[in-house]
Amino acid sequence: MSPTMSEAGRDADLDLPRLTVPLSRADARNLALGDVVRLDGEAIVTIGMPTHQRIMAQIAEEKPLPFDLTGAAFFHLSVCSRETPAGGAEPLYVNPTTSTRFNPYLPTLIRRFGLSATAGKGGLDMECARAMQEVGCVYFSMMGGASPLLSEGVTAIVETAWDDLIMQFRLTRVRLSGFGPLTVAIDAHGRSLYEDLARDAKAKLPEILARLNAERAQAGR
């Protein structure tokens, strides 16, 4: 192993606790903010706005979804796959998208289906966090730009639906094996790293601005 690899902690850091998704309620409620884990099992993923809107329309019309989301792990994960000669698809690479743009839809999805885990990057708002607390669901932060690590943990495309949509928008059920690293960023008790950090940053802003003013004054600007 080269010094660079060793410095990057290639092995030690990636040796993480593993959980199976869909999570049991007990597993979900036992996770704490900042826990870093890997996942095995199955998740349903998409990054499509039209997909979320279609799910909402199905709910409004009391129609079933192409596959059941009850208790599911539902992730904002983009998947590029390739069709196989057997008629299935193999995953090529994956990466998360910013979850916040789905804030308007997630509270309904979380409550309606009792989701056990959500994931993406950038977080979800407190409306979502409250819904997650009610049902016992967590939000995992996936690292944007870490596709080489995350892709290794997606071992199969189990099925896709709404194939009229572009690939990354389709509702896709993936099989996970050691998928990660993932950080618990909203727990099942209504606590959110994003909320805490945004509040802290806002509270610190007057002090930060005062320091900028002082430094500018000192520089004679």
């Binding site: 660079t4 990057a8 990636l14 590029c80 990466n95 596709s147 802290d200 940053a201 601005l209």
Partner: protein, 289 residues
């Protein structure tokens, strides 16, 4: 010899393909250096994951992100460059070539803003800004495919004769608004003055400047240092899950203008996709980043 249609078409495709797999060397160095100052253990871990991901992209020839971005090129034409062929069309064709041949394939991200339909082609694709370099015997091309994660946080606001304090406070407001979302640690690009379009271009180009190259204007060099410390005091940290490392750099540029002063602020995520090549009259193609 001359700079040909074929050379520009090939460079267009190659630069894009490289950018999808490469965290620039200076960005890797900045990430590594941030481990010396990051005090939050979980953030140090995220930074180490980032270094591992960038290393694996390089050694295992992997894409860093699924979002292949909107194709964006800066082309700087030397006044002594000899051009043979329609290099404007070469860039259009080079991007089409990339879409047809990229391995693994890239996803559709070119979006019609009127219908939100996505494909591999569209009006004015790729997005190209053209500039002229006095005396140079080359064409320089920079490819910086812009993804949604940071692209959506760019903004511009026009002030009247703002003080430096007003400008810096505005930048901090933009940073707080983006918060945990733009895949930090980011580079913050800031363009001050000129006109509406010029300020935006200055900010966007400032993000392409390598880390460790402060603006030669002392007022801006000081502001860059000051704002970097300020932004890293906010606590958003790597991936926005907490820490001292929210930005790796603040790059500012300015142009003289009128008393109305546009201030453009934009971001680039930690993978900082940008590749650069120079195509010389001699036929030599030099990959610079």
């Amino acid at each position: 010899m001359a700079i040909t249609y074929d050379a520009v078409r090939t460079a267009t495709a190659d630069l894009y393909a490289w950018s999808l797999r490469t965290v620039p060397d200076d960005a890797v160095a900045a990430l590594r250096a941030s481990l010396d100052t990051e005090t939050v253990e979980s953030a140090r871990k995220v930074l180490r994951f980032m270094l591992t991901a960038s290393e694996r992209a390089r050694t295992d020839d992997k894409y860093l992100c699924t979002d292949a971005g909107v194709p964006s090129y800066d082309v700087r034409i030397g006044t002594a460059a000899r051009i043979d062929g329609d290099i404007k069309q070469a860039i259009v064709d080079g991007f089409a070539q990339l879409c047809a041949t990229a391995e693994p394939p890239i996803l559709k991200f070119v979006t019609n803003p009127l219908t939100n339909q996505r494909s591999f082609a569209g009006k004015d694709m790729p997005l190209v800004t053209w500039d002229v370099v006095s005396g140079a015997d080359y064409v320089e091309m920079i490819c910086s495919p812009k993804a949604l994660g940071t692209g959506r946080w760019a903004s511009i606001e026009t002030f009247v004769s703002p003080s430096l304090e007003t400008i810096e406070r505005h930048v901090m407001d933009c940073v707080l608004k983006a918060g945990s979302q733009p895949c930090p640690p980011v580079v913050v690009g800031i363009g001050i003055g000129g006109t509406f379009d010029i300020a935006a271009k200055l900010a966007s180009k400032a993000t392409l400047r390598p880390f460790g190259t402060p603006n030669p204007e002392p007022i801006l060099a000081e502001m860059e240092r000051r704002l970097l410390v300020a932004i890293n005091s906010t606590g958003f940290g790597p991936m926005g899950t907490g820490g001292d490392t929210t930005a790796l750099g603040v790059h500012i540029d300015y142009a003289s203008g009128h008393g109305y002063t546009p201030v453009a602020v934009c971001f680039n995520c930690w993978i900082n996709r940008r590749t650069r090549a120079r195509l010389y009259n001699s036929g030599v193609i030099e990959r610079c980043e």
